[in-house]
């Protein structure tokens, strides 16, 4: 089988479409109907206990109100409002439907497990809400449950130099309220989350103690809440002279604002994320941009508009995080060492960069293309003393590059060698090649 045919039969290993990051709606999308006076502003009820770490119920009430207010105060043009109602019985509430919105402390019904600070649930009815072209299920009530085993703190507690193992109530409560308003996490556990704005968002998936770094909703949080409740903007980005927004440098794409987002806009400012001058236009014409260097680029549109609902002039922003991935040619490199018993351990030292520009590695022994191994770094075991040509081929959006060097399998362990230059592969011996590592793991019953 020739190489081309073989590749065609392989499972698809390469994901060439960038995953657009940024704020997310919880699914299915949901929001409060701010025109429904029976449910808006949100009336919330706190459990009738004092959270551990607080001195009084007044502190709890004050901190909770400030958490709701954060979504109105720090988000331009946001209509978010909430008022406190009477306390509810903490011991019996939890997540169950109560016909009103609640906050329960110390997880009285043991709904949460280890490692969870708090959780929120929202209920919807049959109504729908639309805003900015989005359609949402209308939220009818929401419930926040704080876990047991947590000491909560006020801003003074958190900023105290002697703060120890205290969790910021404002950060966590603002985050949970964000969920009850319809927002999901900016990033989840296990996601790369390379964008600092997403890592710094209040809606990031985790939070540490004695930190207020994510207390205030940031630009990403604001864009999400404004998409659901305020004035929002969006744009399209398309490749020019190509099929993808992922490719070799230079890469050119065009951006444009759909007509539904052009109302009441006074100016458009484009930031292409590569340090070049921002492009500002008074009209929504299509703009082209070329990225010259390797990188993962976030494209940001900031508009200035004017609307009576916002009290006059306002600005709104939309970011497409990591929308464009531009890659140079891969730079494969590897080192090896002889581990004895004719076993050679290979260490992949390729420059992976920060942008995922290498999407595939293939290891070819003695020119045997059909026997190429798609793995990060193999270990080779041979029958006896021998010399072999090993080629590492790396590929990605920027192209394909390979290097070759000779490895020696000996009975006794010895030092290694490294290679980082492009070279040629050679056909050679068909050796007995075994993959070790996982295959040698002894299955045992414990």
């Amino acid at each position: 089988m020739n190489r081309a045919a073989r590749i065609a039969t392989l499972p698809i290993l390469i994901l060439l479409v960038p995953v657009l990051g940024g704020w997310k709606f919880i699914t299915p999308a949901r929001a409060w109907d701010i025109t429904d006076s029976s449910r808006w502003p949100i009336e919330y009820h706190t459990g009738n206990v004092v959270p551990r770490g607080f001195d009084s119920a007044e502190v709890k009430w004050d901190m909770t109100q400030r958490s709701y207010d954060a979504w109105g105060t720090y988000v331009p043009c946001s209509p978010i409002e909430a008022v406190r109602g009477d306390d509810i019985t903490n011991a019996t509430q939890g997540f169950g439907s109560a016909g009103r919105s609640t906050l329960t402390f110390n997880d009285p019904l043991n709904d949460l497990g280890t490692g969870t600070l708090a959780a929120a649930v929202s209920y919807t009815g049959n109504g729908v809400v639309t805003n900015n072209g989005y359609t949402f299920l209308a939220i009818t009530e929401s419930h926040i449950v704080f876990n047991d085993g947590v000491v909560w703190g006020t801003p003074d507690d958190i900023s105290d130099p002697n703060c120890f193992a205290v969790h910021d109530y404002l950060s966590t409560t603002t985050h949970e309220i964000g969920h009850t308003l319809g927002l999901g996490h900016s990033c989840e556990d296990g996601e790369a989350c390379s964008d600092p704005l997403l890592r710094g968002a209040n809606m990031y998936w985790s939070g540490g103690s004695c930190s207020d770094a994510k207390r205030t909703p940031n630009g990403d949080d604001a864009a999400g809440i404004n998409a659901a409740y305020g004035v929002s903007v969006d744009f399209n980005i398309e490749p020019v002279d190509g099929e993808s927004l992922v490719g070799a440098a230079p890469l050119t794409a065009s951006v444009e604002v759909p007509s539904e987002f052009q109302n009441n806009v006074l100016s458009y400012e484009w930031n292409f994320g590569d340090g070049t001058e921002h492009v500002i236009t008074a009209t929504p014409e299509e703009v082209e941009h070329t990225w010259e260097e390797e990188g993962e680029y976030t494209v940001t549109l900031t508009i200035v508009g004017e609307a009576a609902d916002c009290g006059g002039e306002f600005d709104a922003q939309e970011r497409k995080v990591g929308a464009v991935l531009v890659c140079d040619e891969p730079r494969p490199a590897f080192e090896f060492s002889n581990a004895g018993d004719f076993t050679v351990e290979v260490v992949n030292t390729s420059d992976l960069g920060a942008f995922g520009c290498i999407t595939d590695f293939v290891w070819i022994l003695d020119g045997d293309e059909d026997g190429g191994l798609r793995t990060y770094q193999p270990t080779y075991a041979f029958d006896g003393k021998s010399s072999h040509e090993v080629t590492l081929r790396a590929s990605g959006p920027g192209g394909e590059t390979e290097i070759t060097q000779t490895i020696e399998a000996t009975k006794q362990s010895a030092g290694g060698c490294s290679a980082s230059l492009a070279g040629q592969s050679h056909s050679g011996l068909l050796a007995l090649v075994l993959m070790l590592g996982g295959l040698l793991g002894v299955r045992r019953r414990r």
């Binding site: 206990v49 019985t89 949460l112 985790s206 996982g438």
Partner: protein, 233 residues
């Protein structure tokens, strides 16, 4: 991408759907291992959505067939049942951010704890933090660890899962779990949110027995948490 023809479709079929999400404290691999009652490789045999009496939300009961036990009182071939937030019951969906989703046919490496309630099942420790999907590297047979690949996938097809170029192999984590468990390793003591008092007491005692120099400020934290909250009558 977030445009709403899809949302309209969802709205039409998912009315009255609750959704839930969380804030988490990050757990280290050593903390996951120590706090888990059971650490296993397993295959997902069944996922059954359920709605408790009187509840509006849906949870999923997941049946795991254990293929390798790294820690805990179980053996290969045993079946354990987890109960996790979220699920799809005849098109009625509860979606829970940060809750681990399981799909039939999926192979997993999981850190599990028992629910602290009567009739409790198991649950994944630290929500998504305690679950890794295992995907075999076709050319070598080695298992690669992946996160968040099975959400919204009713039937898991391992061969269809794209693997990243830079791979984290399962043996690195499995070996660490085995070594730490065999050695009785106790991670540096901290009061982990959500850990029951009795378990924290054991953790604290074990840390002392292991000769750890525990920061005296933890005593104040433990004292605060040992006191019942005021109010609530």
């Amino acid at each position: 991408m977030r445009r709403l023809s899809l949302a309209l479709l969802m709205v039409s079929c998912l009315a009255a759907a609750p959704a839930m999400a969380t804030t988490m404290a990050e757990l280290s691999q050593a903390e996951l291992t120590y706090m888990a009652d059971l650490v296993v490789e397993a295959e997902v045999e069944a996922v059954q959505a359920e709605r408790a009496d009187g509840a509006i939300w849906i949870k999923s009961v997941v049946t795991l067939r254990l293929t390798r036990v790294l820690k805990g009182d179980a053996i290969e071939g045993d079946r354990v049942m987890l109960r996790e937030w979220g699920g799809d019951l005849n098109g009625d969906v509860t979606e829970v951010a940060s809750a681990p989703a399981y799909s039939v046919g999926e192979r997993v490496l999981v850190f599990l704890e028992r629910e602290e309630r009567a009739g409790g099942m198991w649950r994944t420790l630290g929500m998504t933090q305690g679950k890794f999907t295992l995907v075999q590297e076709p050319d070598t047979g080695r298992d690669v660890l992946l996160k968040n690949v099975s959400r919204s996938v009713p039937q898991f097809v391992e061969a269809a899962v794209p693997l990243p170029a830079m791979r984290r192999y399962s043996d690195s984590v499995i070996n660490a779990v085995i070594e730490q468990t065999d050695a009785g390793f106790v991670p540096a003591y901290s009061r982990i949110p959500g850990v029951p008092q009795w378990r924290d007491d054991l953790f604290h005692a074990a840390a002392l027995a292991a000769g750890q120099s525990i920061d005296p400020r933890w005593a104040q934290v433990r004292q605060k948490l040992a006191v019942a909250p005021t109010g609530g009558e």
